[in-house]
Amino acid sequence: MSKPKMDHATASEAFNKDENYVDWHDETLWFVRQKRDKASKVLPEWEALREAGSQIKHYVLSHLDELLIQFEKNAQQNGVRVHWASDADEHNAIVLDLLRKHQITQMVKSKSMLTEECHMNEYLAANGIEVIDTDLGERIVQLREEPPSHIVLPAIHLKKKDIGDLFHTHLGTEAGATDPQYLTEAARQHLRDKFVTRRAALTGVNFAVAETGGFVVATNEGNADMGAHLADIHIACMGFEKIIPKQEHLGVFLRLLARSATGQPITTYSSHFKTPRPGQEMHMVILDNNRSVQLGRPDFRNSLKCIRCGACMNTCPVYRRSGGHSYHNAVAGPIGSILAPNLDMTKNADLPFASTLCGSCSNVCPVKIDIHDQLYKWRQVLAQQGHVPKAKQMGIKAMSVVLSQPRFYQWSGRIGRTLMRSVPFMVNNGLNPWFKQREMPEPPQESFRDWYVRNRQD
């Protein structure tokens, strides 16, 4: 398995070069987090809803095989063809095969992080299939030839000017135009043409209901519906953890999802697909891709409860100041950092360390995943299995020597405080990673222990 081009720390350093830009990114995401707070506080039953969502998802994990079989049976009865894929390659091959059978070379796609995980667009392109992403943010990053930086807000890392320049090049908008209304209108015209001419549409899946064999796709733009209802063939792709037992459970999850994601009480469109329309083919691809391995890890299986709202990213002090691309994984942020090591431990060993373990992610998670505990636990696993760089390993060992010997710890603290006071340049320099993007604090005159000992004697 390969290493990423840049690890999280290195990529964050590059992201932090422009301080105004980082501040803007930080504040934009914090604004979304605040909208989530407001929307959730309107409901007195919010915490009870989170608990219900969490328990339903626990039930799902412990009955996953039965629920999938039930879903398959009902979906087939509804006229949906169900496909199973063990890994990304199988998933991509199934999609390609369906398109080839219909001699289709062009497809529209609404948001699906699963196909990002599988690198499906690249695979289809290499096989002569053109895929147009139709979510505005996804179309923007697709034209820029980069992945989404956020699972809900794919182009959150870009400024109006970047998008204006991009559309000028690709869609022929006026040079220098930055008005979001004007730019969105240009994208609307450009994508309408794709919707009405493409015969195949691929969508993601937010929830699949075992009881009915139906599935729900949520969007604000209406792009999933525009694609699916005009196409001859609709392919829906999902990770197997998207299953929920009963239709009434949608009441819980649709109340949690948009409020957690963007602070909306619900997305504009919550589309419930059950049967293909007359003359249409509907397919469902169910993907494993190591999820069954994660299911077998007691410390990490709860990550599969995720409903992909992105709240943990919006609140994360590290994500907000390092950007989604620094995580080099389809799903970024805290949740991405506990999912990614399961996909590839070598490549993603840096991600569980990209956290302050402040716990804010766990506090906002609508299905109560213990995200920060899992980040901490992944660190142990990765260190034990030799995936942590030598320098970090030595640092950890040195810290454990200091922390396990009280006298040595007291002595080190005194030396440190003295050094910071008398020769501040020893710590306030570029060689000290704690000094990056930070002022060092004033060293206190004495340690808490010294203070305590003195005051007790008084």
């Binding site: 792009n223 239709q247 299911l295």
Partner: protein, 195 residues
């Protein structure tokens, strides 16, 4: 073993100890005045809610509001003479030039302003999305409080159905809200009082 068997086998071996569904997963409505909350929630997404006495008043309203609009269609019998665009097309692509659709829908949800529409009310699923402008008509008495009550009504979702809460929108360019992404550019909701 094929992929299906492999996946199911691995899940069976690896799944955690059995847990039960929560005792409580539906919550009672907390909103005192459903129509007021419904109207407020939709106002927040630039959607006007217009109470009308009966179908006759609805006809007068749409005739007045959409003066000068051509390519208007409806699924409501009493409005047929007002429409100038037929929905009896075989291919949904023929709806591309539709400017306005006034459609019968089933019920609304106060907590989020969502309106349920489905195959039961539509000849083509793409209709509420492909039209440039949309008006939905529901009985005022059909409002429910929250999504739990909504799903109590929806024991069967038919072949396809959708909750629609406002016009199509996006905030993908620097979080600036823009109305009219891919679907309808505007939504008006008519509440029929006499039904």
């Amino acid at each position: 073993m094929n992929a299906r068997e492999k996946i199911l086998e691995r899940i069976k071996i690896n799944k955690p100890e059995e847990t039960s569904l929560p005792e409580v997963s539906t919550f009672p409505n907390e909103f005192a005045n459903l129509q007021e909350t419904f109207t407020e929630m939709l106002a927040a997404v630039y959607t006007e809610v217009v109470p009308v006495k009966n179908i006759g008043a609805l006809l007068a309203q749409v005739t007045d509001r959409y003066q000068g609009v051509t390519n208007r269609a409806t699924t409501i019998d009493a409005l047929m003479p007002w429409a100038d665009f037929s929905l009896t097309v075989n291919d949904p692509h023929e709806l591309e030039t539709l400017e306005l659709a006034v459609l019968k829908a089933e019920f609304g949800v106060a907590e989020n302003g969502a309106i349920w529409i489905s195959d039961d009310h539509l000849s083509h699923r793409v209709l509420p999305f492909i039209t440039q402008n949309l008006a939905l008509v529901i009985p005022a008495s059909s409002l429910v409080g929250n999504m739990h009550e909504a799903y109590q009504k929806l024991t069967d979702t038919s072949g396809w159905g959708c909750f629609i809460a406002g016009p199509s929108k996006t905030a993908d360019i620097e979080q600036s809200l823009v109305i009219g992404a891919h679907g309808a550019r505007s939504l008006v909701v008519y509440l029929l009082e006499d039904q």
